[in-house]
């Protein structure tokens, strides 16, 4: 090719330019996208890019009241850790507490105030402005107030404590209504009642597991869901390995193994609802073997006479041998604790059972001793919230009032009765009688979905508040909740909403609640406490005090309660100690199994179900995620021809649900268990249409004494259906197959 023709030349040019173009494009494609460097317009003083700021506040995922430190970077919350200053959790935090971030940044939060447009329950809302929302509600409330119908305003909240509780109370009082209730399904009504019977005070004392040598727990899942799991876990760790060679023993008595049961040295099953009888049996042995020598010995002797081990053994299914052994061990290894909770609280004889369990503590002389039951001093500021807890019977009264058109406005905040009340209570039906249902909630839960007006609230990480942990830790403490990030959505804190409403309504409300911001309200309230406790008037010092309290997240007093002498109980009291057999809804022949719905560590009473981290957290006992299941003993399953994943129909007198079977090796063959928490029809993408809610088939059995819901007192029958699904769990094989994984530990029998 000596001469390049014109044609060839053009070809070469073409090739070159196509190549160059491709090269340019390739160069472009390999480049990074442009990143911007956006400066703050006015940088805040404490701002440094790339450095984390920690804010101390309080966790409100459950009622334990742990202190938390939230790590923020560039104005965003990144991690929640326990606040090491806080005596409840001492820097530690459970899974649910840490998942609080998921609540803050939940994609399914309510992003602005909503007004219902269609029929109730159709889930049709339009967004409205805060002005409109507050004016609408304010004028309705105002009208009622002017018409002197303030008492037809009802306020139903979750477990609110501290000054927010007081704010609600003041508001309702000023409205002229005393219809302010808390509804928290997990509230230990029976325990309070039992404590009142024995100790004369409606409080929960401080269970000093830390220093105990023997913990005899009747169903109380103190490591999982009972009262203050993080605190008790800390204590448990101390009990096990925190005291040199002295290692406390834990015994768990329950029909279905809970997390605590798994960690106990001994796990003993008894027939459901007979824990109290067993406690009485132990008391009988203790009395007869001279374990108690108090001045009221004779009365006690009388009280425990009907509960001889042989009788109790028959009633509970626990062998006589075990009863006497437990009693002796309990006597011998002092200080020891007897704790009742969990399913024991969910029976018709709950109060009696817990009273009996409490009596064990009395008989072993553990009251007011380290390692025993310690009574909390007066809290930092009066805590009325316990008295406002509405149990099932009280909720039924509310429902009756609603049905009878006695409720004009029902304000619901942070509680989900539609989900947590058995349908037998007919709460949804009663809503027809309520002209205006207002939900003050961060999430579109089942109750909110039925509301006429939705005022979205801040999550606890965006709002001001304070808290006094209940039960206390042996000395008075209070902690402050402060916003750690700017609000993510167009929401307002509940305190601000109430204050704004007060101003909107007018009359004596602004006088009772003169503040416009929750922060000011809190500060003024805390100023009072400060002044009360400071000998000289030191208003000037308050700012420093407030700052210090904010910084450390908690404030406490070095004050313990003087020992109360329990020389003897009154005859009256002792006579009251009597445990009867539990009763169950449904005939044993038709419904052979007792259904034990239980709180899970992840969803608690269902409130955690919308948090993806918790949905993805394998259930500690079964490793199941994202679903609900029916636990039954492999023997039972074998008998009925059921294998894992078979969908079962669980039927009680109140209804039917379907869930897959899971063979749980540590459950009595005559009971089945189901976790509470799934089965939401609303509540965001992570919770919605997932699993079933066992509450829906609970029969409305109530406690004989205090009228609380006996949620473990429903009998069911199970039928295998054709359907079969694969249970989603992370576990493969749950036996060690002889491999030395656990360090040669043999089973203790």
């Amino acid at each position: 090719m000596n001469k390049i023709s014109r044609r060839d030349f053009l070809k070469f040019i073409g090739a070159g330019s196509i190549g160059a173009g491709a090269g340019l494009l390739y160069g472009k494609s390999t480049k990074k996208t442009v990143e911007l460097l956006l400066p703050q317009v006015i940088p805040p003083e404490d701002y440094s890019p790339g450095i984390a700021t920690w804010y101390n506040t309080i966790c409100q995922q459950c009622g334990a009241g742990c202190g938390i430190s939230v790590r923020t970077r560039e104005g965003r919350a990144k991690k929640i850790e326990g606040n090491s200053n806080h005596p409840v959790n001492q820097g530690r935090l459970c899974a649910m507490g840490q998942a609080g971030l998921n609540a803050l940044y939940n994609p399914d939060r309510i992003k602005s105030p909503l007004k219902r447009t269609g029929e109730r329950g159709n889930n049709s809302f339009t967004e409205i402005s805060w002005d409109e929302a507050l004016t609408t509600l304010g004028s309705r409330l105002g009208n009622l107030k002017i018409q002197k119908h303030g008492d037809s305003v009802y306020l139903l909240t979750g477990g609110v404590r501290g000054h927010i509780d007081k704010l609600f109370a003041t508001f309702m009082e000023a409205m002229g209504s005393d219809n302010y209730f808390h509804y928290d399904f997990t509230h230990p009504f029976a325990l309070y009642e039992a404590n009142r019977i024995i100790f004369g005070e409606e409080i929960i004392p401080y269970y000093d597991i830390n220093n105990a040598n023997y913990v005899l727990s009747f169903g109380a899942d103190y490591l999982g869901t009972w009262i203050s799991p993080v605190h008790y876990s800390l204590a448990y760790g101390h009990l096990r390995q925190g005291r040199g060679n002295q290692r406390g023993k834990c015994v768990q008595i329950e029909p279905r193994m809970s997390l605590t049961g798994a960690n106990a040295d001994e796990w003993i099953t008894c027939l459901p609802g007979t824990e109290g009888l067993l406690a009485m049996g132990l008391a009988h042995v203790i009395m007869n073997d001279g374990g108690y020598t108090g001045s009221d010995q004779n009365e006690w002797m009388q009280a425990v006479t009907p509960y001889s081990p042989s009788v109790v053994s028959r009633q509970t299914g626990v062998e006589v041998r075990d009863i006497t052994r437990l009693a002796h061990e309990f006597m011998k290894h002092q200080p020891g604790l007897a704790i009742g909770g969990g399913h024991t609280e969910g029976n018709t004889n709950a109060v009696a059972s817990l009273t009996a369990i409490n009596a064990l503590n009395y008989l072993s002389g553990n009251l007011g001793k380290p390692g025993g039951i310690i009574f909390n001093p007066e809290p930092a500021f009066p805590n009325m919230s316990i008295k406002r807890q509405a149990n099932y019977t009280q909720m039924l009264e509310l429902i009756t009032a609603m049905t009878n058109k006695g409720v004009d406005i029902l304000l619901v905040h942070n509680t989900n009765p539609v989900f947590n009340l058995p349908p037998a209570a007919k709460f949804i039906e009663a809503l027809h009688g309520v002209p205006l249902l207002v939900s003050l909630s961060s999430f579109m839960d089942e109750t909110t979905a039925l509301a006429d007006l939705v005022l979205p609230t801040h999550t606890y990480l965006e709002a001001w508040g304070d808290d006094i942990p209940e039960p206390g830790v042996g000395f008075p403490i209070a902690s402050i909740s402060q916003p750690v990030v700017k609000p993510v959505y167009n929401t307002q804190s509940i305190g601000d909403i109430i204050l704004a409403l007060a101003h909107q309504i007018g009359g004596e409300l602004p006088v009772a609640l003169p503040w416009t911001q929750t922060e000011d309200y809190l500060k003024d309230s805390w100023k009072k406490i400060y002044q009360e406790r400071t000998p000289v008037d030191a208003t000037a010092g308050f700012d420093d005090f407030w700052k210090a309290a904010l910084m450390s997240g908690v404030w406490g007093e070095n004050k313990t309660r003087p020992l109360i002498k329990f020389d003897r109980l009154s005859n009256n009291q002792i006579q009251k100690i009597h445990v009867s057999q539990p009763s169950f809804a449904g005939d044993e022949k038709d419904y052979p199994f007792v259904l034990l719905p239980y709180l899970t560590q992840t969803f608690y009473d269902g409130r955690g179900a919308n948090l993806p981290w918790l949905q993805e957290l394998p259930d500690p006992m079964t490793s199941i995620v994202y679903s609900s299941w029916v636990e039954l003993n492999p023997k039972t399953a074998n008998r009925l021809g059921i294998s894992e994943g078979d969908v079962l129909e669980v039927q009680s007198i109140a209804g039917t649900i379907r869930a897959p079977a899971f063979l749980y090796p540590a459950i009595r063959p005559d009971v089945i268990a189901m976790p509470i928490g799934q089965g939401h029809s609303h509540y965001g993408r992570y919770a919605q249409n997932r699993g079933v809610n066992p509450m829906t088939i609970l029969a409305p059995e109530v406690d004989d004494t205090n009228g609380a819901l006996a949620w473990s007192a429903t009998r069911v029958r199970i039928t295998k259906t054709e359907e079969r699904i694969r249970i989603i769990k992370t576990d493969g094989v749950t036996r060690t197959l002889g491999r030395q994984i656990l360090g040669n530990n043999s089973v203790h029998t």
Binding site: K11, A15, G16, I18, G23, K32, L36, V41, S48
Partner: protein
Amino acid sequence: MSISVRDALGTFKKPAVISIIGLIGFIIGYVIDVTVFSDASPVQPINFSHRMHVSKNSIPCLHCHVYADKTPSAGVPGVSKCMGCHKVIATEHPEIQKLATYWEKREPIPWIKVHDVPDFVYFTHKRHVLAGLACQECHGPVENMDRVTRVSSLKMPWCVDCHTKKQVENGRDCWTCHK
């Protein structure tokens, strides 16, 4: 009939030449893209001159980049900082007026990042500044630049070379820089 490989190859001469030219074109194109349309010297929303501020008016680096010796990120000054001086200085200048507009609207200035490391790199200005490194060692003679140009590749061997040369403690450990 020839059995010579050269003759046979002759048939494929033209396609070969065309593909070679194409390849050369590709390389030229790529080189042009990397050099001429380089992202090392982007046009910024405001034509800010470091030369004017640093060389002429002798403002030290840390005056504006206040976080450089305190935090991982050097930080760009807030708009308020600029306005601190430019409320009175050179207010008539068109670029300053641009600045004033941002200030009035309370908007951040969308500066384009010139020195950008990937997200998987942990780089801390603080340690480098405190180790006594001059800003210019990485950023080049910014004090003479009217528009900031990246002079270092910011690629891994560049970092590692310096770490090796200066015998940085654990300077060649991946986890010193990768997160």
